[in-house]
Symmetry: D2
Subunit: 345 residues, 4 copies
């Protein structure tokens, strides 16, 4: 079977997925739609697909799956519309910036019995997957503490910041999901500190650019997250996990790994410049996993619920920064009572 894809949104991340779909022998990128005709035309030319519209794609029975890369405020509507149209859906995170809107959207997906996968691409990075395998194999015993370092090479434009929902919902959300992925338990409380050290314009826009977080679980496990919108040396993406029998870590990746030695010392090149190059393999693995779920008609993971929980953790972090206290996640949402959350993993 070849899964026939429509791509909604031909921007930066849309191109990443177009490339991954095109390179997958089990998939065909059939059409692309974008509000900007030129963006759609460029992507269509680059990947040899047709240009279409939301309405036409909705009506096209030959399309099996839709990849949603449009602006965040359109995600929930598009998910509802295309799940009702019988399409399997891959949606970039977040589903929405509002927890209640996400809940409502997920109810629609559930009622239809549709397939929905959320784009937490880092779960599919081969290095992080290997870390997870080491944990799953029991090599480090019981997980005790997780440390996640995640720094962007530079701050985005303030216009982006304003629409982003803030650093916790835009950037840390990936780390919240990774913490859950590695801890193997739900988060109980979120304690966050955030400040404005990189770009005063970000502060003026009401957001932060530097973040430290402590997450705890009911059994006393810890995860810490360190985020910054600045890393002069490239896209800094590291995790380490300490357990009762040992530890496992995934170091940073760089495009070339040479070393130059001279009187100043030993120098290796900077890291990857950003997620498009750092997570190339992850995006390919991610879309392959989605295709496999579509073909096998099994639930996709990370699920809509995973997307909802990560968003709730972001909301708890925002509240923690304001109230200078540890915020129980239950204050944000009752979803964690749903024990089925780990079943799809």
């Amino acid at each position: 079977m070849t899964v026939r894809f429509a791509l909604l949104g031909a921007g930066r991340i849309g191109k990443v997925h177009a490339k991954a779909i095109s390179a997958n022998a089990s998939a065909t990128l059939v059409v692309v739609a974008d509000a900007f005709p030129k963006a759609a035309a460029d992507l269509a030319a680059a990947y040899g697909c047709a240009i279409s519209t939301i309405d036409a794609i909705e009506a096209d029975k030959s399309i099996d799956a839709v990849v949603i890369c449009t602006p965040t405020d359109t995600h929930a509507d598009l998910i509802e519309r295309f799940t009702k149209a019988g399409k399997a859906i891959f949606c970039e995170k977040p589903i929405d910036l509002d927890v209640e809107r996400v809940k409502a959207c997920l109810k629609v997906v559930d009622s239809v019995g549709g397939t929905l996968m959320v784009g937490f691409n880092r779960r599919f990075d081969p290095h992080f997957m290997a870390v997870r395998d080491v944990i799953a194999n029991g090599e480090i015993g019981d997980v005790e503490m997780v440390q996640i370092t995640s720094r962007d090479p530079g701050a985005p434009p303030v216009d982006y910041i304003k629409r982003s929902g803030g650093i916790f919902r835009d950037m840390t959300i990936h780390d919240f999901d990774m913490a859950r992925f590695l801890l193997g338990e739900e988060i109980d409380t979120v304690t966050a500190y955030a400040s404005n050290l990189v770009d005063p314009a970000i502060g003026a826009a009401g957001d932060y650019d530097s973040v430290s977080v402590i997450l705890t679980t009911a059994t006393g496990k810890h995860a810490t997250i360190s985020n910054s919108r600045r890393a002069t040396y490239g896209y800094d993406q590291r995790i380490e996990v300490h357990g009762s029998k040992g530890a496992v870590s995934a170091e940073n990746q760089r495009p070339v790994s040479i070393e130059v030695a001279n009187a100043k010392g030993y120098t290796r090149p900077p890291l990857h410049d950003f997620f498009m190059t750092r997570y190339t393999e992850a995006y390919a693995n991610e879309i392959r996993t989605f295709i496999e779920a579509v073909e096998a008609k099994t639930p996709a993971s990370p699920s809509g619920l995973d997307g909802l929980i990560a968003l709730a953790l972001a909301d708890a972090a925002v509240k923690s920064v304001k109230e200078k206290r540890a915020v129980p996640v239950s204050e944000i949402t009752g979803v964690l009572a749903d024990k089925s959350v780990f079943q799809g993993r």
Copy 2:
């Protein structure tokens, strides 16, 4: 000039200092005193010094300096007694487990005009000193975020735990001092989470064995600390500092740095087994720095005030864990108002 030393306390850390003093060409270890005659005799034999008593050392005008390695609850009394006797004092941390007792002790030292140095050995590790130099040289711009990882290879006996003042005053205190050393600013708030994951007996004794901390400064800088009483792979001691122009880190140290490659992969040996081997050079540098201060009659650093502030941070951390909130350090003590604290550095 040769500085003539008396050593009080011939236990584990006493031996470390005896070795460092003996190897220093500007110092002579003249006498040792210990409540346990055998301990004193063994150390005296190993380092070729005499055995004496507290009283005799106090009365001995030929002794220039006293190194205090006795149990914590004797430190403040001994500092007061020997500073009045005109001796320069090097005291192992902490000065006392009670902030008010420390304050009173420091007033006595100040009134006498005595020399007091507190044993935060890590400031003298060549790798951490090099990190500090990189910061001081402006190579990474303004410091923004500090990450400290500090894990002991194993938990101490519960008897030790009970007398220790708890993990924050016994273990994290070093990291609190290191955070101040690297941030170059005083700590404004302490947020801590602690749990019991390693040894239930530690929990039964009312202490924790796993700690995550966020420290903040008035200008919005962050420091995070990750502590555990467990590290199967050796004594884990790492720091990294992120600034506006770059980052600097100090990696773990191991006694031998070979690598064996076979079908299972590439394996390097475990780290140093604990502080005596990991910080050998630091202890030598530390005692040399003390000797230089004694010889030059200049204030010693880290000072008694540094000891007091680190203890106050530990108290704030204890309070934060209990009250699940960010604790302003000003709730513990007013010392941070004293702007002279960084002058001696």
Copy 3:
């Protein structure tokens, strides 16, 4: 323009090139031919191309380029035949095991004015290319000494060994080419030592499995090569280059770069298992470079002459092992007098 490819030979390396051609947007894999119908059919199915024959491909005017991955003893004949048919040719190394046959073949290519590129894939590895760039940028000054370590994870079957021309022509030939690539000068003498340490069957077949080589240039530069048919830890591929102002090295690559720490130490996974996974990017870059030469109608590099010289160095090495002396390359062939050899680079 899209370059239309025919692939001759559907074996292991044929599949590697089929994959690289298919993934290149400027190329189409049109047909494959193989003496074994099943091999051709499998590859055709996997990459969506037609099955054809040598004769039909020769006659097909729509085919622009031919990739030759057939057994070595067919290479020279196929090159001559297809260059006369006006096809651009990419041929796996070596062109032939006999220097005189290679010379004759290259004369045919020259007389036709055809495009011929030889498959020294390592020149296109991004890490080795970065090493070369460092040299070209003058960062390490004048190159003085090159060290190449190249170990296969395991010995091939003896049947392969017997047809291979021996370890120098089969395996070290890549390192000879890399030495030239990095030294930027022609080799003057070859001194080699070879022994049989890995598999006695290889010795019984008249070949070696363990090799050390010293190459020298007329200006006194050195290159050393260390080869083995055994590396329990994966495919070992390292280079380092020392110059008057510094050194540059490229370390080994592994599929995942995690590290597990426990009481036994710190362990990273083994290296890539062999060239197909280690040099994935190199193969893609290589075929892209060939396509660019075909499109631009410029000479392809590495050229047929590069292939000839590497073979001559292998012959010199064989002679050196037998005669236990440094063998001037001029004893093997006069090609090095041709100063045009570096022009295409």
Copy 4:
């Protein structure tokens, strides 16, 4: 027992040994002698020993051991004189620049039954010792190939070069000994290439500054050595050993192991500046091993024979460079027939 030492020669290496002796609790540095009164006086002041003369030391029955750090051309005479005087002798390499003179000297030592240890300090480096232990424990199976990289940070003055016996006897001699130490077999042939790339003045003095060597054993094992008098990044000292079951390597050492990351990449500081700092621990271990042999009255290792063999390998290398061929060590000396050479190890 405390071994009482006399030190002959108060130059650079003399100071290194004075420091190691002083720091050893089982040894006392009693006297120093040097043809330059100021050199002797400085060292005597620094280490608290007396100044004496060769004659007085020879006559002093209280002296147990003599460390010879005088110019090379005095070594053999001093060894003979002091071994007859009943002193245990530690002599810096080489014993003499002439193989026949060394043989004669060793005969005298043997006839007296004296203790003689030769200063191949690298055998006592903890990292190289760990490599040797890995081999001895069978962790990498049978040793097959050894690679030694050894580069000095800079060329010595030409005056030193002229008296040194040439690079093979002065510098490579350490690597020849290390190759034997790691191979566990005697060297059968030496093939060397040497050129003049670093400093033309060295070439004008008849010596080389850049060396590549292949050593072989009777069973077909290989060792390669790469030497240069130039390494802009510090004192480059690496070994790797490949065996039938795996490989083991010892990487370079640096005084501080921090890393600075910025837009130019990740930079670690240069290596140790030279042998005095790189091999501090090795010198301490070396003198301790000598003291243990003196105390236990057991043969010291590395022995005089080890010194003789390394010199013979250097002579073979010189011959190989001139005659452009593999030189059997038996052409230089018959000592390898003496199977007792490995007994003391």
